[in-house]
Amino acid sequence: MKRSLFGRLWPNATAVVLFIGFVFPVYWMFATAFKPTGDIISEDPVWFPTDVTFEHFRTATGVDHFWTYVTNSLTVTILAVVFSLIIALAGSFALARMRFKGRRGFIIGFMLAQMAPWEVMIIAMYMIVRDASMLNSLVPLTLFYMMMILPFTILTLRGFVAAVPQELEEAAMVDGCTRVQAFRRVILPLLAPGLMSTSLFGFITAWNEFALVLILNKEAESQTLPLWLSSFRSAFGDDWGATMAASSLFAIPILILFVFLQRKAVSGLTAGAVKG
């Protein structure tokens, strides 16, 4: 089938338009962050920044408690991801490799848990945390974030564990490994892509979380970056340069992780492990 010139052109033309549509907001965020204020508030937009300034980044990071927010966000996010990985590894191994009563029930339970409407339950979570006198603490945040990403982590890792050929594990056990050793030396290294992609998802979820920290932590010392970012506009009025610099700073770790980890997650580690 030969396509007409028009038939070959329109997909590419549409793709270019779409590309611009999807990239522009991200581009505009970075562009605004680096433009001098005069170029930001100009009657006609300055599409390509010619003078580059770091002043907006200085304003954004110069806010009181900025580094506290950064530390808090990193602490909460990393701990939540690590805890959920550890808990999920054990659970997913059982679900993928063992046969026992109620297995199906567990899987369905985690599936339902994955759909939990967290945004709607924040009042109850607030009451629980308040009754435990844990408001303005990072502990409840870490625990709840861990729970938000746990079902997805278990279910996804289950798929990855199941995909590791049973023969590899058996071969290791024939060679004298215990089950735990076989798991640690054979399965775990092969799970790397799975661990990467689940931790990527978990990191994004916890890093972005807004509704819960908004209600639980009212004191600046215990707040995280999403609150800093959302309060930026009211605090700085219409300082769009600083606001966009803040947005850029907040988005960069996620954008980098997404691009970087995605590559690794893709590499098929199991591909050559068992030769047929």
Partner: protein, 332 residues
């Protein structure tokens, strides 16, 4: 790059390969029998931390929410730490009030519009990806991934800047296109314009998930099917409706279902763009529950609204949920 799709949020269908692995262990070989009997508790022990966490951190808030919804809990009771049960009063007040129904209807319409737009445009972009040449496809994918990866709070801040009344790019473009009344337009001043901004934001961020996954799904369609169809004299449109569409149907169901859940709970986008305003006219159910409960300090009422919201969400997704659960039971 296409396989980022599979892991990011796997549509809830059990991997078929689990079955193979599961039978081998535990029951079989005589040498292992004794050990396996001792290890019969093994799987439960392994699952214990996950289950304990789920019960404590998810189950307990759910139960607590239901309990709170039967209590008269306002600022006074909150400060004095007293529990006043008031039966179904909260529900009566919520359900007989006009606000709740208005917000519910608004939420459902809001979800419907966003899901339809996301699925339709996402599917079209996905099919376009399948048609593009390698280089162009990669370029568009990069754009999609960038939009997808943008953190929601950052994205909503950027959208406020794009739609800013003064110096916002959108108003500038509309003005240049000849729509001069938009030159100084305040997008947050009315209900519809606020919803417009929120919708553009949500659809922009949701399309990549649908498009990239759909493209990945089309690559798994065996080419023999197309060849057979064209041997039977099917044109482009017929082979699309007889081969592509049936093949993608399960995927489309699963994605629609996920999008309904995500968009129905779109608290952050609505809250950050305009706080449910102007005049509380853009509150959707999760925002309504928050503002009634926490903002106006009627915690019991807020909890009742939350319970009702969860029930509505269950109702909206019940049809698909049933399919998934049945399918899981058959597969496991």
């Amino acid at each position: 790059m296409a396989s980022m799709t599979v892991q990011t949020e796997r549509p809830p269908s059990g991997p078929a390969d689990v079955r193979k692995g599961a039978d081998v262990v535990g029951s079989g070989r005589p040498t292992q029998r004794a050990a396996s009997r001792a290890g019969a508790l093994g799987p439960y022990l392994l699952l214990l931390p996950a289950c304990a966490a789920t019960v404590l951190l998810l189950g307990w808030p759910l139960v607590k929410d239901v309990l709170l919804s039967f209590q008269n809990l306002n600022m006074a009771q909150l400060i004095q730490h007293v529990t006043e049960w008031n039966g179904v009063d909260n529900y009566k007040e919520v359900l007989t009030g006009e606000d709740f129904w208005r917000v519910t209807l608004r939420s459902i319409l809001f979800t419907a519009v966003n899901v339809v737009l996301t699925m339709l445009l996402g599917a079209l972009v996905g099919l376009l990806l399948a048609r593009l040449g390698k280089r162009m496809r990669f370029t568009l994918m990069v754009g999609l991934v960038l939009a997808w990866a943008m953190p929601v709070v950052a994205a909503s801040t950027v959208y406020q800047w794009l739609f800013a009344q003064r110096f916002g790019v959108v108003n500038w473009v509309l003005d240049k296109l000849g729509w001069h009344s938009m030159a100084d337009y305040s997008w947050t001043s009315s209900q519809m314009s606020t919803f417009f901004v929120v919708t553009v934001l949500i659809v922009w961020q949701s399309i990549p998930f649908v498009a990239i996954n759909l493209y990945a799904a089309t690559t798994t369609i065996p080419t023999e099917l197309y060849e057979a169809a064209s041997l039977d004299g099917a044109g482009a449109w017929r082979s699309f409706t007889t081969v592509t569409l049936p093949f993608l149907r399960p995927f489309l169901y699963a994605t629609t279902f996920l999008e309904i859940i995500w968009i129905f709970k779109a608290f952050v986008q609505v809250f950050t763009i305009n706080g449910g305003g102007p005049d509380r006219l853009t509150e959707i159910l999760p925002v309504y529950a928050y503002i009634e409960g926490v903002g106006n300090q009627h915690y019991g009422m807020g909890a009742a609204i939350a319970v009702l919201t969860i029930l509505i969400l269950l109702g909206l997704t019940a049809y698909y949920l049933r399919i998934v659960l049945k399918q899981e039971e058959d597969e496991l």
